[in-house]
Symmetry: C2
Subunit: 477 residues, 2 copies
Amino acid sequence: MKRTKIKELLTTTPSGQQVTVQGWVRTFRNNQFVAINDGSTIQNIQAVVDFNNTPETLLKRITTGACVSITGELVPSPAKGQPVEVKVQKLEILGDSDAEKFPLQPKKHSLEFLREIAHLRARTNTFGAVMRVRHAMAFAVHKFFNERGFVYVHTPVITGSDAEGAGAMFRVTTLDANNPPRDEQGKVDHKQDFFGRETNLTVSGQLEGETYALALGDIYTFGPTFRAENSNTTRHLAEFWMIEPEMAFYDIQDNMQLAQDFLQYLVRYALEHCAEDLEFLNKRALEEEQTKPQEQRSELSLIDRLKFVSENDFQRLSYTEAIDILRSSTPNKKKKFQYLIDEWGADLQSEHERFLVEKHFKKPVILYNYPAAIKSFYMRQNEDGKTVAAMDVLFPGIGEIIGGSQREERYDRLLKRVQELGLPDKDLWWYLELRKFGSAPHSGFGLGFERLILFVTGMTNIRDVIPFPRFPGNAEF
Amino acid sequence: MKRTKIKELLTTTPSGQQVTVQGWVRTFRNNQFVAINDGSTIQNIQAVVDFNNTPETLLKRITTGACVSITGELVPSPAKGQPVEVKVQKLEILGDSDAEKFPLQPKKHSLEFLREIAHLRARTNTFGAVMRVRHAMAFAVHKFFNERGFVYVHTPVITGSDAEGAGAMFRVTTLDANNPPRDEQGKVDHKQDFFGRETNLTVSGQLEGETYALALGDIYTFGPTFRAENSNTTRHLAEFWMIEPEMAFYDIQDNMQLAQDFLQYLVRYALEHCAEDLEFLNKRALEEEQTKPQEQRSELSLIDRLKFVSENDFQRLSYTEAIDILRSSTPNKKKKFQYLIDEWGADLQSEHERFLVEKHFKKPVILYNYPAAIKSFYMRQNEDGKTVAAMDVLFPGIGEIIGGSQREERYDRLLKRVQELGLPDKDLWWYLELRKFGSAPHSGFGLGFERLILFVTGMTNIRDVIPFPRFPGNAEF
């Protein structure tokens, strides 16, 4: 008999119909009550075994972690908090689980321990919830852009250009590591490598994305990107997923509006479609908060935070305005900032961003028009001669969740900037050429997908919101 | 004034309302008629310039490839084949395009030439159409699985395991290429590499996907995969996107049904949502057919092929049945096959697959239950002791578009197979462990996304259905 998913059964009106449930045993109480989860929802379904008429040998195999197939009647449940249960007629063990050896005992495990068994952790409530929310968010990303007529573009992962300069790169090669071919100077001869040149893993699909924006209008990428930086933090991964929309005919104001619309759409989608998982994660986050000292606790619960973000406009202010606020702020005057803000031009640190978002405005902030000196070469130069049309969206608890800009569409200005910074303009021939043939004002931004998932799930370590995290020293599984 | 996309304008009832169009000039005729495309649709909109009242210097800048912003009245068009046109009130050049130097002249270019200017080719009708269809197919993939309650899982791109054995791999490293650290034996010391071990780019997310199927039930991956093979063919890329669903509690029959449902859903989605682009590609394919000798031409046009696949069940037959048909087929008897089919156990070549699909059954074919010896270690061993529950979906003109199997869920059998083949069972500890703790029957398959796009667009070279193709000797852009 074809199985029905537990998510569906839990909303079915019970009338003694025969159903089949398949899933993993979470608990087995009193030789009678089996709690089964199949991953379709965070809720378990209860199956009631007639233990008087079930062989002892079979009962013994109903252990935490075992996979079972149960056929029986769907009936109203007398127990609290569950509308239905299954009266077992037939129970089959599909896969045993040695209760002594199964790593996931029916108790609370630390997130650190669960990271070591990433192949099993999706069977816990927390990771099941996080991964279902992650799915919903990925789908919402595609839905949002599809509804607005954006074209999804798969920009390349292996790249010959090192131009974006967003960070250290991983080299990709098929040369014999121990004995690579060498040129006349004794250097490794990448001409003999697979692609006939040195290649790396991409740090961003933006530059390639721009070529498509200047052909199809509105496009977006959603793919893996890489940083070979030795960052062992709760906010960085060596491999992560990024979403990069790029829009022809958008200026920086249009760009900011899209960023806000996009993030609010995603958060609303989560609230609408992931209610049960968010409720669980909300409770989980509250419990975690209780372990912190009073002054470090959030004023808002997870769900309140999500609602707040989805319902309120983000505060937009220029870098210059931000510097004024920071300079005259109490933590700056009292020298509580680790990096004091003295003058215009300073790069903002996480402590400053958090002050603006969490203390001063108490809502998401979009900072724009940054000093050119601290931003990338491709950002559009403003007429003041010192700032560029960059923008960062800052979120409570997360910091920068989106970075973007209007792009420099003027060939001469872009070339000059490339040369000033000593970038390899030979590698950038195609990017520069976009400004020679039918250039157009255009803008775009990048959203780190895992940062979004951190915000929406209330998890605090980025290694816990991606199935198999990659970081220095870890490429297990 | 905010621009309106051409796709929207072309279905707007004209009543002299003022509109703004922004896009790229395709042609400019008689100093009067500008055909503009903005990528939102394959159709251009015509703008009519009052050349008597437009400065000569401005008229001269309306060149093929230039980017323009036009504001004017939307009026019914007297010309054939276009419902509306724009009577220009204001025309601004956003980006010039030197008519002599612009690589995309208003004439037919070869696909080979266009590959060399991949940063501009999306501005042609063919690539615009292909890339919009590609977008629609990616969205349909997510929509299909989301509707069925599958969870999208991002499996890792960088992997420490080389177990799947699907092909040669790219090494990923941050060690100094010229002077890597070496161990006592003089070998490169990957313990000092970024991840503390040798790592490669993934050839498949299947094994990691299985860990999630055995927790969440139904999952799928959709991400880039890699092959470091020196294949210079029209069917292979070094970097391509693959979709890999993996389902707990599915047997091989369920798996075949899902594969058929999935492909038919995608093709129907294309027919419904990409009508204009497919009409163009249909015509394009017909023209290309005309250049071939009669006997090599398809019996069906592109659109007829799509309809045929979406409306008819796929033929399911076992490998053994296929061998019988092939052995007694005319080309085998007349020795027209390059590889003659003598006995059971032979690996099928593309010529045999094409014979079955295109000549014998004249429809898509699902072959299943292959000899174990020619298939992967993780496929479920059938009770006959010689075959495994593998399946391949074969499409006309494409050959294998999907490969999959029921997975071996029995620990002892899997371990034995791993050892027989000399695979690194130490690296596979987590994969084997899935069979120790709550194992379940499960199945899955892989769909090469670009193969699908080839089929749906009627393009013949896989390098022309991905934005920036990667193949031996090529990682430009």
